[in-house]
């Protein structure tokens, strides 16, 4: 069953134009011009129950606008959204019962009160039964180690503790869908790892559908089987994480330092895409040609002083997709 369905979703905003200079400033005292900005232009996707999807893109790509439309905070300009059979913006309160939301940068807990009180208030707000509340609290306390800080005011929690509390809070009412907006932002390595383990666990055991936005590529690599990549309000890629890695993971980059500087280097089977005095970066497909073949080729005409072979990280793959577009990536790369 498709738990989230998005079809041709669009959202435009009107934004004020900033005038510059003194004259502009005086002018804007009276009148300010507006321009239309398309935050989301024609995005479609659907997510199956129990999936864990990374929804990623650079800042301003339209990630949070999409999430806001899925949670019922924003009404789309056009297009269709359905979350668990409900149109969020038409039936916001009903939709709210089906979703858990965690904003990594902003807590939804009561800042000045002991953490436990936030849970109790949320229990009331979501009308969670006593029995279910107790069960959930027991589980979360065990997995997330909440008991070490339940009586501490939220403002005194460390960021890692606060995130754990926030996640538990968003799951109290057993929502089938969980939205995580940068859940590991600002956390240290250990806390990040804990958080990821927990997210994986609830996804596996409770079959909760998770939509995750993040800038942390490790999050995506470790958590998501599928990723939806968006940029400038449009979908750039939607598919399995493994496919992306497969496709681009065959690339290697050979970096060579030559003894003598700067005459052009040409190699068959590889592509020189960057050079800097006597250093050259050569991209090649590991299936088509081996590094040693390339090196042999080069040593025929040049003296190599030093060399390294690099494996591309998911981060650089994604940033290349942003920069060049999925379709436009060079042929040598595409398989």
């Amino acid at each position: 069953m498709m738990i989230i369905e998005v079809e041709h979703l669009m959202k435009d905003f009107m934004v004020a134009k900033r005038e510059t200079g003194l004259l502009g400033a005086m002018k804007s005292l009276v009148k300010r011009e507006h321009i239309k900005k398309e935050a989301v232009k024609d995005i479609s996707f659907s997510i199956e129950e129990g999936e864990m999807v990374g929804y990623i893109g650079p800042n301003g790509a339209g990630k949070s606008t999409t999430i806001k439309m899925l949670t019922g905070i924003l009404v789309p300009s056009s297009g269709k959204v359905k979350v668990n059979g409900i149109v969020p913006y038409e039936n916001r309160q009903k939709n709210a019962k089906n979703i858990g939301v965690v904003f990594g940068q902003r807590t939804q807990l009561w800042w000045d009160l002991p953490t436990i009180e936030s849970f109790e208030l949320l229990k009331e707000i979501y009308q969670v039964s006593n029995k279910r509340y107790k069960e959930n609290m027991d589980t979360f306390t065990e997995i997330l180690g909440l008991d070490e800080f339940l009586n501490t005011p939220v403002r005194q929690l460390s960021l890692g503790q606060r995130m754990r509390a926030d996640i538990a809070a968003s799951l109290l009412h057993d929502p089938p869908i969980l939205f995580l907006d940068e859940p590991t932002i600002g956390l240290d390595v250990v806390a990040k790892e804990k958080m990821r383990t927990f997210i994986k666990e609830i996804n596996n055991e409770r079959k909760i559908t998770v939509i995750l936005t993040t800038h942390d590529m490790e999050d995506i690599e470790k958590l998501c089987e599928r990723m939806i990549l968006i940029d400038h309000g449009q979908k750039v890629y939607d598919g399995e994480m493994a496919v992306v890695k497969e496709k681009f993971g065959k690339n290697r980059i050979l970096i060579v330092d030559l003894e003598e500087s700067s005459h052009r280097l040409k190699v068959t089977g590889g592509e020189v895409f960057k050079e800097e005095s006597s250093r050259f970066w050569i991209r090649f497909n590991r299936d088509a040609v081996s590094a040693s073949e390339l090196i042999a080729q080069i040593t025929k005409t040049h003296n190599i002083k030093d060399l390294t072979v690099e494996e591309p990280e998911i981060e650089s793959i994604i940033s290349r997709i942003y920069q060049e577009g999925y379709q436009n990536l060079p042929e040598t790369v595409k398989v």
């Binding site: 949670t71 009404v75 904003f103 902003r106 800042w111 000045d112 707000i125 009308q127």
Partner: protein, 268 residues
């Protein structure tokens, strides 16, 4: 959710708010001191003014104090229930308002229940003290009828001023500003009504009676209780305070909801 359930939830939410506020004891005391100081300041200003002149538009010092105390009493309730509405712009700008929208309850209700500023109980002491003092000086006899009239007028005043705070906060949905609107519009207007409306130009009196019905907060009710004339307005117009209050608040709520709809389509 049923109405009863909402009441129960409101109580739980505000008691959390009060406990949060009481964590900062010193701030709490300072706020009470601050409120009392500024009210005393206004009262002293009135006293000096009438030290030389005896009357302001046929109102004596004690009558003006009474007028002022009626305003403060209902404003006290307003601070407790609605004063935080003026800060809606901050919630919207830093994104915290969204959390009210991802929960399965009425966002107006949820926002209202966020704070319950008990510090303003300080002004009840102030205004009740003044009622006793002024009542003694003017030899008012507090019959049950008069007390009930005052009570209902105060309720009307709470609705009117609360309604205005709600309207001002709704402006944040369109303009991303509200706190500033409070300080530039409502704050001076509230000051205006600390003095009998009769001294202002007719257009202003008309405006404060029928557009932004501040006149019903204190001027009209106080005139009834003190048996003073309200030129340009019918006698006993003060009896309409509760009705005006309820209508005005309903309009304010409607505007707020309209603003929320706007917010959902622009997101900022």
């Amino acid at each position: 959710m049923s109405v009863l359930k909402y009441f129960d939830l409101y109580f739980k939410l505000i008691s959390a708010g009060v406990r949060a506020q009481l964590q900062y004891r010193f701030a709490f005391v300072m706020r009470i001191v601050g409120l009392i100081t500024s009210y005393t300041g206004t009262a002293v200003t009135m006293w000096i003014m009438l030290y030389q002149f005896q009357e302001l538009g046929s109102w004596t010092f004690y009558e003006m104090l009474f007028l002022f105390a009626v305003a403060i009493l209902s404003w006290g309730f307003c601070i407790i229930l609605f004063f935080h509405f003026r800060g809606l712009d901050t919630y919207i700008l830093n994104g915290t308002f969204d959390r009210f929208l991802v929960r399965p309850i009425n966002p107006f209700f949820h926002f209202m229940a966020m704070k319950f500023d008990v510090a303003s109980f300080g002004q009840f002491i102030f205004s009740i003290g003044i009622f006793i003092w002024v009542g003694f000086e003017l030899q008012l006899d507090w019959t049950l009828g008069k007390s009930l009239f005052l009570l209902f007028s105060v309720i009307g005043g709470v609705f009117i001023q609360g309604g205005l705070l709600v309207m001002i906060s709704a402006l944040a949905f369109w303009t991303t500003k509200s706190e500033q609107f409070y300080w530039v519009a409502m704050y001076p207007a509230r000051n205006l009504t600390n003095y009998p409306l009769v001294i202002y130009p007719k257009a202003v009196q008309w405006f404060t009676a029928f557009v932004v019905p501040f006149g019903f907060v204190n001027y009209f009710p106080a005139a009834v209780l003190l048996e003073k004339e309200t030129p340009f307005f019918p006698d006993k117009i003060g009896y309409f305070s509760p009705l005006v209050g309820i209508i005005f608040f309903a309009v304010a709520y409607y505007i707020w909801m309209l603003g929320l709809k706007q917010y959902k389509s622009t997101g900022s």
